[in-house]
């Protein structure tokens, strides 16, 4: 815990949400959430199924735009800029705010192409040599380079689940994002692959603002410095992870993390 507290960096908001409400048709999924996402600390969203944590995560890079019935109210900013403003380029936004999903979803292409695709469409590489550098750098940061450097032309889908997920993280990293959102990134992985992803999150901290949604409270405790507990569309409690797990202030948080919920 002491180590965790030492690790905690002072608040440095990268994204802010103010009174955010999300509706799916008539049903309200998020009931006025305000939160700051730190640049230098990993933020974990925890809560029971249906509490709105994934829905809220998806508002941070406008993934909910793809759901026809979804409507978002309130203010969300990235570096002070309203990401729902009419002039906002959503493709550009999603490059700046990358996302990693529950199930690894590599493109059915080579490992190399999986990484190169994003930089290419965003025009980040000038020529093959340039792209090689980006691919190696991204795979190194994703902790995958040593395992795949001799078979970059193999299909990404031929990798193990854990490797595929790190490939997806590498793919997100390749377009130089500022924020990485992870939605249950380890729920389909075995404990060893999970540990590798968690170690990777630790290494990526500070370079990118990281938000992780997880059902696994131990994982939230292990990888994050700040934890937000969601319940029935409310942000019940948001605080320093070590405080949330040793001395939560709210009864609902306490019941959930001690296994007394419901």
């Amino acid at each position: 815990m002491t180590e965790e507290q030492e690790q905690l960096k002072p608040a440095n908001p990268k994204m802010t949400a103010r009174d955010v409400k999300v509706f799916y048709g008539p049903k309200q999924a998020i009931k006025g959430v305000s939160i700051d996402v730190d640049m230098d600390n990993v933020t974990a969203f925890i809560g029971p199924s249906g509490c709105g944590k994934s829905t809220f995560l998806r508002t941070l890079n406008r993934m909910n735009d793809t759901v026809a019935s979804a409507r978002v109210e309130g203010l969300i900013t990235l570096d002070g800029e309203d990401i729902y403003a009419s002039g906002m380029d959503v493709v550009q936004l999603r490059a700046r705010v990358g996302m990693v999903f529950q199930k690894p979803n590599p493109f059915p292409k080579s490992i190399y192409e999986n990484i190169a695709y994003g930089p290419r469409i965003h025009g980040l590489a000038h020529g093959k040599a340039d792209m090689d550098v980006i691919v190696e750098k991204s795979l190194r940061r994703a902790g995958l380079w040593e395992e795949v450097k001799d078979r970059l032309q193999d299909s990404g889908t031929a990798l193990s689940g854990g490797q595929q997920q790190r490939l997806c993280i590498g793919r997100a990293i390749a377009v130089e994002p500022e924020v990485i959102l992870m939605d249950e990134p380890c729920s389909a992985l075995d404990p060893i692959a999970t540990a590798k992803i968690e170690e990777l999150i630790h290494e990526l901290r500070g370079r990118y603002a990281i938000v992780i949604v997880t059902h696994n409270m131990q994982q939230a405790a292990r990888v994050s410095q700040r934890t937000a507990f969601f319940h029935l569309g409310d942000l019940v409690e948001y605080g320093v992870t070590s405080d949330i797990f040793t001395n939560p202030k709210q009864e609902r948080t306490k019941d959930y993390i001690t296994g007394r919920y419901g």
Partner: protein
């Protein structure tokens, strides 16, 4: 408090609390019997206190094992985690309390019956009673997760400290006037010191209970029984 979704977790916690309640009861009885043995010069009772201490030690070992198991298998969080850690620390302290009671009992045969000794001895039973009550209340506070009761125990420590200062002065005066009793009085000084330490340890338990119940630590306080050193 609501039950855990996993019932076996509640069973573990219940067992942990049961063991600590038993341990506390035994430590309290050890103090009471040691003081009674001292008053009555009852060597048999004193020997019984020494023998019974083994069970207190055994409970400590059992709790340690159970706590490690609970942490490994249940991954307790928040107040559960604070409870389990407090339990682990409390058994260490209660084991020490048992040792102090045992130490008092071991001194009983060394303090010969002597009617002249009544005066300095007269304060000790009351002092022992307060310390015993502190142990009792500290463990009750743990059982009931009662932060207020824990706080009351902490505040009562000064009573034991005042007793100690008083006994110390009485014994020193008595020894000056009756040099032949120095050997017995020295034993009584140790008895008084042991009770004073029991009070401190009960206070430690109460502080752990307070933290487990509230998540807040009590500010550090002066440990008493040192007044005579300043004089």
């Amino acid at each position: 408090m609501a039950e855990h979704t996993i019932k076996a977790f509640d069973d573990d916690i219940d067992r942990l609390r049961g063991l600590i309640a038993e341990m506390g009861g035994r430590a309290e009885a050890a103090i009471e019997n040691a003081m009674l043995a001292l008053q009555r010069q009852d060597k048999e009772l004193a020997a019984q206190v020494v023998a019974d201490d083994k069970r207190i030690d055994a409970i400590e070992a059992e709790v340690e094992k159970l706590v490690v198991q609970v942490i490994a298998l249940r991954a307790p969080m928040a107040n559960d985690l604070r409870d389990v850690i407090a339990a682990l620390k409390i058994v260490g302290v209660v084991e020490r309390i048992g040792d102090y009671a045992k130490n008092i009992a071991k001194r009983v045969p060394l303090i010969a019956t002597n009617s002249r000794m009544l005066e300095p001895v007269s304060l000790l039973p009351s002092m022992g009673q307060v310390a015993g009550e502190m142990v009792h209340d500290a463990l009750n506070a743990f059982a009931a997760r009662d932060a207020d009761l824990a706080l009351a125990v902490v505040e009562r420590d000064t009573v034991v400290d005042d007793f100690y200062d008083s006994v110390f002065r009485t014994l020193v005066t008595f020894m000056v006037e009756n040099p032949k009793t120095i050997s017995e009085c020295a034993q009584l000084l140790f008895v008084a010191k042991n009770i004073e330490r029991i009070g401190d340890h009960a206070t430690n338990v109460a502080e752990m209970v307070y933290y487990a119940a509230t998540g807040q630590t009590l500010p550090d306080r002066e440990r008493g029984g040192m007044q005579q050193l300043e004089n």
